[in-house]
Amino acid sequence: MNTRNFHRTLVILLLALVGTFLLSIFVGRYPEPFWMPWRVFRDDPLARLLVLRLRLPRLLTALLLGMVLSAAGAVMQMVFRNPLVEPGFLGVSQGAAFGAAVSILWLTSHPLVIEVSATFFGLLALAGAYYLSTRIRYGGWVLRLILSGVAVSALFSAGVGVLKYLADPLTELPELTFWLLGGLYSVTWRELLFVLPFGLAGIGVIYAMRWRINLLSLNDETAFSLGASLGRERLVLLVAAVSATAALTSISGIIGWIGLIVPHIARRLLGASAEKSVPAAMLMGGIFSLVADDLARTLLPGEIPLGILTSAIGAVLFMYLMISMGIKVRNHA
């Protein structure tokens, strides 16, 4: 894709994102399902309060969440040279889920504490997977990390299972279960402001290094010969991706599929080069997550967990992509 087409596509995506955001402000179930007319927003103080206090921070969080998950997914797919990887890989999501469960059960349900605990365990899972991979003495580093990620993920998943088993079925279990299913129902300005620095820093680093990501997707020996400090540069990108993901996951719960599917669509649309596909993936991720959250808020009288919706939409899109366009997977480790 040439530069002019690229810029045109990017502008279209940006306009679509802004449009989706503005429309989302008026989508909801107050005062009646699906749409708040402008007149109501103008005349009803409760409607204005709802939009400013609840809907706006929630929409901004959805936007940031989509951008972070897509950017992190794009980075992980390229750095691990595997188009089927997503941020949940390496045990980050399961680690964060475990952290949140620990907090809900044994500490407090205070959102800030849940966030800190989830971020801590998310990073711990990454460190654990990384350490384990350095101790395995066979296979390439991608294979070692995948194996380690699967093992660490399973361990934390078992931990979450134990905590669910221990939870009080009347008080703690519903909260825990709803958190694990993923959703932005509890987000206010306070939560948003807490995760904003991590989210912006993460996508900022990824955006700034977007061309370099291409280099890190090559063979180790080639990337080395082209002057890459492989260990250091991969670490910077992975820490940016994981810390942003863990921070956002701590308030949203586990939101799957965005990080897997959106980078695929971005590469299909704009070509493989991360210089172009990463900015596009960020914008598309924002749109995806805003639309999914709109549906989660409005389709039923009660909230549908966002994680269920993103999984359903993502899985269907993935099947479509596999059949119609052919997702190319190469065997290498």
């Binding site: 188009p83 370099r212 002057g227 400090s229 190319k328």
Partner: protein
């Protein structure tokens, strides 16, 4: 003036309890020439290339670039000096040829920098020199093996290094593409580039190289000019099969004898 690349008494093994891959290896790569590292599969040719690149460090002895060890250079300095075309390069994402060749400009850009107009001009020039400007917009996954090898060479051309290391550049290529790659190497060496290629094919080595290093089981069996290295006796011993060297109208050719006994 020191040779551009040399190894002095190098011993190398991949892990402590592994056997030696290279044993007491000393060699000098002549500046501005094409050197062929020739030997059967599994003799440590690729390991030797990785030592010259600085990707591996000798357990004992020294690997030197222009008289200084690799660690005396920063990663970026080194990558402006030495380029590599590896034997297997899997490209997992479907870059266009132009995007892929542009990665050759990495040594000149910091991790947060994008390639600029001058870089893109150099990439266009590299595609011209490699004879593949018509492939620029093609996806790398959708071109033939021969074209792919030319794309890899274009990538190191865009890197503008004084030294080129090529690992089995003609393996899996048909004769036309072998000719294109090796002729390109000769042309570049005529313009001052030092090229080192590994190969298990003596005829490919003879076609392109000025200097020969014959390897057997991690050691040097012979090194020097074609007349000193490419002999029936040397090749038959190293490749462990009867080999005849024929000179026809001044051109040396290596022929495998039928049978084996």
């Amino acid at each position: 003036m020191p040779d551009i690349l040399n190894l002095e008494g190098v011993h190398f093994r991949y892990a402590e309890d592994n056997p030696l891959v290279l044993e007491d290896l000393s060699l000098e790569i002549p500046t501005g020439k094409v050197t062929a590292i020739l030997g059967p599969n599994g003799t440590g040719k690729t390991t030797l290339l990785h030592l010259l690149l600085g990707l591996l460090k000798p357990n004992q002895g020294a690997a030197l670039v222009a008289g200084k060890p690799h660690r005396a250079y920063s990663r970026r300095e080194l990558s402006k000096l030495i380029g590599l075309v590896p034997q297997f390069e899997s490209i997992p994402f479907n870059f266009s040829v132009f995007e892929y060749v542009t990665l050759g400009r990495s040594p000149y850009l910091n991790p947060f920098q994008m390639p600029g107009g001058e870089d893109l001009d150099i990439v266009e020039n590299a595609l011209e020199v490699a004879g593949i400007p018509h492939l620029a917009d093609k996806p790398v996954m959708e071109i033939s093996g021969g074209e792919r090898q030319l794309v890899h060479v274009a990538r190191v051309l865009a890197q503008r290094t004084r030294i080129l290391l090529l690992d089995e550049p003609t393996a899996h290529l048909d004769l036309e593409n072998q000719n294109r790659i090796l002729s390109l190497l000769k042309k570049m060496s005529a313009e001052g580039t030092t090229a080192v290629m590994t190969t298990h094919d003596p005829n490919a080595a003879i076609f392109a190289a000025d200097y020969f290093i014959l390897m057997k089981a991690g050691q040097i069996a012979a090194q020097g000019s074609a007349s000193a290295v490419i002999t029936s006796e040397n090749l038959s011993r190293v490749f462990r099969t009867p080999i005849r060297v024929e000179v026809n109208n001044g051109y040396t050719m290596v022929v495998m004898e039928k049978g084996g006994d």
